[in-house]
């Protein structure tokens, strides 16, 4: 037990990759306790940040399943991965059912993987107010990829794009007509589209609609659109390669002289 841990000891624990202290550090940050606030200040001067990937999409799109399928592939590619799973807190009691971790039950525990479930504790926009500090803590603990699964988001919940280096919008087939793909909001600001449940009817049609809108006026290249299925594994390696490739320039920041 780390009783009454000080901010300095939690920072040392993050640097030592002590799982118990990593867990406690996030709790203090989330609770915005005195120690948590001190730790947040210490983390501001930390080393370069991990490459942060945001995963958003409507409720039931298959975000958690996608995370569960992608994590082993990212670990295979040599990354140290922190996964932050955000679910809604009850506006009535403040309690929360954090169920996303179930989708990671088949991923074996590993030193290179840290998974944390977070209630959004009343924050709007699909993330939590403490998320930036939590990302900084993950960076100090030596994770070079931070994968954030947002609360199932609506069309205009774009908070994650201000926080993540790269945002994936996951969409399943069969949600609506082609006008949905043209709307403003999350689809306008996402960096990549992943069609989930690609083995279901309508996946090809959704792929074509997304590809048609994937190139914005300001883009030199169209944004990637990848069809995946966690049932048959199709498309998942392509998504992992895309993320791994995008993250490469950031890795130096963690292994540089300033890294703790």
């Amino acid at each position: 037990m780390p009783p009454g841990s000080s901010a300095a000891s939690l920072l040392a624990g993050l640097r030592d990759r002590d799982r118990r202290l990593i867990g406690r550090a996030i709790t203090e940050i989330e609770n915005d306790s005195r120690v948590g606030a001190e730790l947040a200040t210490l983390l501001q001067s930390g080393p370069g940040q991990a490459f942060t990937i945001g995963l958003t999409g409507p409720p039931g799109a298959g975000k958690s399943t996608l995370v569960g399928s992608l994590v082993p592939l990212l670990l295979e590619r040599g990354h140290r991965v922190a996964v932050l799973l955000i679910d809604p807190s009850s506006p009535l009691t403040g309690g929360a059912l954090l169920g996303d971790r179930i989708r990671l039950s088949r991923v074996a525990a590993s030193d290179a993987l840290y998974v944390r479930s977070l209630g959004n504790r009343g924050a709007v926009g699909g993330v939590t107010s403490a998320i930036r500090t939590v990302i900084a803590a993950m960076s100090v603990a030596g994770f070079d990829l931070v994968l954030i699964e947002t609360v199932g988001a609506g069309q205009s919940d774009v908070s994650i794009t201000a926080i993540a280096d790269f945002t994936i919008c996951a969409l399943p087939p069969g949600l609506g007509d082609s006008v949905q793909a043209l709307k403003a909001g999350i689809q306008e600001v996402a960096d990549m589209f992943v069609v989930t449940k690609g083995d279901r009817p309508g996946a090809d049609q959704l792929f074509r609609q997304l590809r048609a809108t994937a190139r914005r006026a300001t883009d030199s290249q169209p944004r990637p659109v990848i069809v995946t299925s966690s049932n048959d594994g199709s498309g998942l390696a392509a998504v992992a390669d895309e993320l791994s490739g995008r993250s490469a320039p950031y890795e130096g920041a963690l292994h540089g002289p300033e890294a703790g």
Binding site: P3, T27, N31, L97, R101, I102, S105
Partner: protein, 138 residues
């Protein structure tokens, strides 16, 4: 609500599809302002690493078919190895009469065999979490 938010890991074997009990308890704990992490374990090691990573105040293990004593024994020992044996373990579900004595000998904090009022279950989790925290800050 911030500093008092109690976090609980509620877990059952991945092989066990009977999730009605665990969902009922989890919902009752949520309604009592707790954050409940649902998790299906494959090995006792999974339970301990999830509990440490999630920094939970209490671990709840639900049993249907088997492993009541075996799994709980391993979890208790692995928690001690991880210097995390301050986290109380609660077991529930199909707990047979002959499981009681070995479970109590392991130092399990509470045993729910069904039929308990949900409010009582929630109060038990709450008081275990608060007792652990009071001890930690001493």
């Amino acid at each position: 609500m911030t500093s008092a938010t109690i976090r609980v890991l509620m877990t059952k074997s991945f092989i066990d599809s009977h999730d009605r009990a665990i969902k009922t308890i989890a919902t009752a704990l949520r309604d009592s302002s707790m954050e409940v992490i649902l998790f299906d374990y494959q090995t006792p090691e999974d339970i301990v690493s999830a509990a440490v990573d999630e920094d939970v105040d209490v671990i709840g293990i639900s049993f249907m078919s088997g492993g009541q004593v075996d799994v709980t024994t391993q979890v208790v020992h692995l928690l001690a190895e991880a210097s995390a044996d301050d986290i109380p373990v609660v077991v529930g579900g199909t707990i047979r009469p002959f499981d009681l004595e070995p479970l109590e000998a392991l130092g399990v904090a509470a045993i729910f065999r069904g039929g308990e009022r949900l409010a009582t279950v929630a109060e038990t989790f709450q008081s275990l979490a608060l007792a652990r925290r009071a001890h930690a800050t001493r």
